[in-house]
């Protein structure tokens, strides 16, 4: 019994079909699971492992490497305050301190009501609007202490729900088509490239230790 809903299981299978090797869908499937559950549960990682043909430990090993993949629950709104060089010059240290005081959590923490997780972020590539803040990976413009409190109030009241979906929903635009290039032709070209490479490698073999060829 899959932990994924039937709809999401269908989406997962469509994602896998986009890749020449199914393991490539591992990260997209992690995003899909986070869209469903908000974070990566053990059961979901089991599912992903089965779908892409690796062990659950490999899914966890990959997921734990990436900042955006969460193996613990996070708040409905993930508030990321950039403090890297451009934002530092724009007052990011002070803004992060303000955000911690305002939300009542330290960086990395989640509010008791489960609404907000505050994160000190690395450069989010919006450096002409400092201090750069993202909520659920959506830019919310350059922030000051005053605007930050207004932002939090808006989020609490659900006034930004059209622009800022709940945590986990990364992309709201789905791919509409599968792969179109003729699979047989693709396979033929790949086989040709592979054998051309093998021929070249065979031509330079023999100079190593084994001396074969």
């Amino acid at each position: 019994m899959s932990h994924l809903t039937p709809d999401n299981l269908t989406r997962a299978k469509k994602l896998i079909e986009l890749y020449p090797e199914r393991r490539s869908a591992l990260i997209p499937l992690c995003h899909l699971v986070q869209e469903q559950d908000g974070w990566l549960t053990e059961e979901a990682m089991d599912d992903i492992a089965g779908l892409v043909g690796v062990t659950t430990a490999e899914v966890r090993g990959t997921a734990s490497f990436y900042d955006m993949l969460h193996t613990e629950p996070v708040g409905r709104y993930l508030v990321a305050v950039c403090t890297n060089i451009a934002c530092l010059l724009g007052g990011a240290t002070e803004l992060l301190e303000h955000a911690e005081a305002s939300l009542g959590v330290r960086s990395g923490g989640t509010t008791a009501d489960g609404l907000f997780t505050l994160e000190e972020a690395e450069c989010l590539a919006d450096c002409d609007r400092t201090v750069c803040v993202q909520v659920n990976h959506r830019y919310v413009g350059g922030q000051t202490a005053e605007s930050f409190d207004a932002l939090v109030a808006d989020l609490r009241a659900g006034r930004l729900d059209t622009t800022v979906p709940p945590h986990g929903t990364l992309v709201r635009v789905e791919r509409r088509v599968g792969l179109e290039a003729d699979r047989a032709v693709v396979a033929e070209q790949r086989a040709a490239a592979k054998s051309a490479r093998a021929a070249r490698e065979a031509a330079v073999a023999g100079s190593g230790g084994s001396g074969s060829g």
């Binding site: 997209p28 900042d67 088509v177």
Partner: protein, 434 residues
Amino acid sequence: MATTDAPKIVTSRLGYDDSHTMARYLATGGYEGLRKALGMHPEAVAAEVDAASLLGRGGAGFPAGRKWSMLRPNDVTYLVVNGDESEPATFKDHLLIERDPHQLVEGTIIAAYALQVNQAFIYLRGEFAFGLERLQQAVNEAYEHGAIGKDIFGSGFSVDLVVHPGAGAYICGEETALLESLEGKRGWPRIKPPYFPAAIGLYGEPTVVNNVETLSNLPWIVLNGGAAFAALGAGRSTGTRLFALSGHVARPGVYETEMVKTTFRDLIYDPAYGGGVRDGNDLKAFIPGGASAPWFGPDKVDLPLGQDEVGEAGSMLGSGSVVVMDATTCMVRAAWRITKFFARESCGQCTPCREGSGWLERILQRIELGAGREQDLDLLLDVSDNISPGLAWPPAQTTICVLGPSIPSSIFSGIRLFRDEFLLHVKEGACPYA
């Protein structure tokens, strides 16, 4: 004058509010470059890119045409677009992705045709949620328009394009780490050689990896010819380029300028670009090419925006991001923050990078917080030298990838330029700017 009459090559549509739509794209010459390319021999398309002498816009500045020519015709299996823009203070690819996604799609399909690949991926930084949506929308529309997929514009050429989201890791901008990530693994850079994925790339197959801005130039190059592109700029730095200007400047933003013909002074002070240091303050220092680049003092402000010119002066144009620091900036805090970034983003494979970045961060922290010792300056340089012997630029490397040798940049250049300020922190037992 600072502004030249060079055309806007990659930012021509950004004045329109609807620059991201198919309607605007088609109304402004969109997909004409691809139509023209499909009527040419693939090698003739590659020859135009070669003639343009287009240097890769990702950070390393390797000639795009040469990257392609390392592959025999029909030998490339995959094209991967590097849209993992994460170098601190770099925000130009993000602009192209959100505001002109069709231009990126068209450039990608032109490259795919020149290389005769039938599957391409755009690896986009995971934090670019809005960009992922804009790009997926553009890809959907381009499929419907017949610009991607089977038998593109009736040419007989077919290629699929898949938008792939990353999940937050700076190291995935390194092309072999990006390929590992695209294979569903941790973003661990691969041992070199082979130096280029052209030899062993995605799933071990020959792969070309190009940056977003690099490929966004292709529709213009195909339509106007490589020679027209090469006529802009000077020396090895041809064409125009996007410069992301941030920090203590009146008008931060992304500016497309003709390479070499414009200087850092123009970029920072000209009213058409940065409009001067904020509040009329004095310029204290600037970073010429992203957080990995050694800092420059005001004496270097008249250097032209050219790859070799900046390289010869001891730093790099890198990702084209210029960070302005005015007289109010604490250089210890700036170096500490950059070092903290590298410590956090080190993938952990190589000891000098993994251990060195953490040690350097803690030493800088104690200097900034007033607990530093005079000998800490030598200690910083010694640890830095263990990561990148000689502390020169371009840097010597003790690690699998260039993240390691990027760590000492802000430290050694900061101490060389502002030794007294580092020492003042130690003597006063506090940050003089706090």
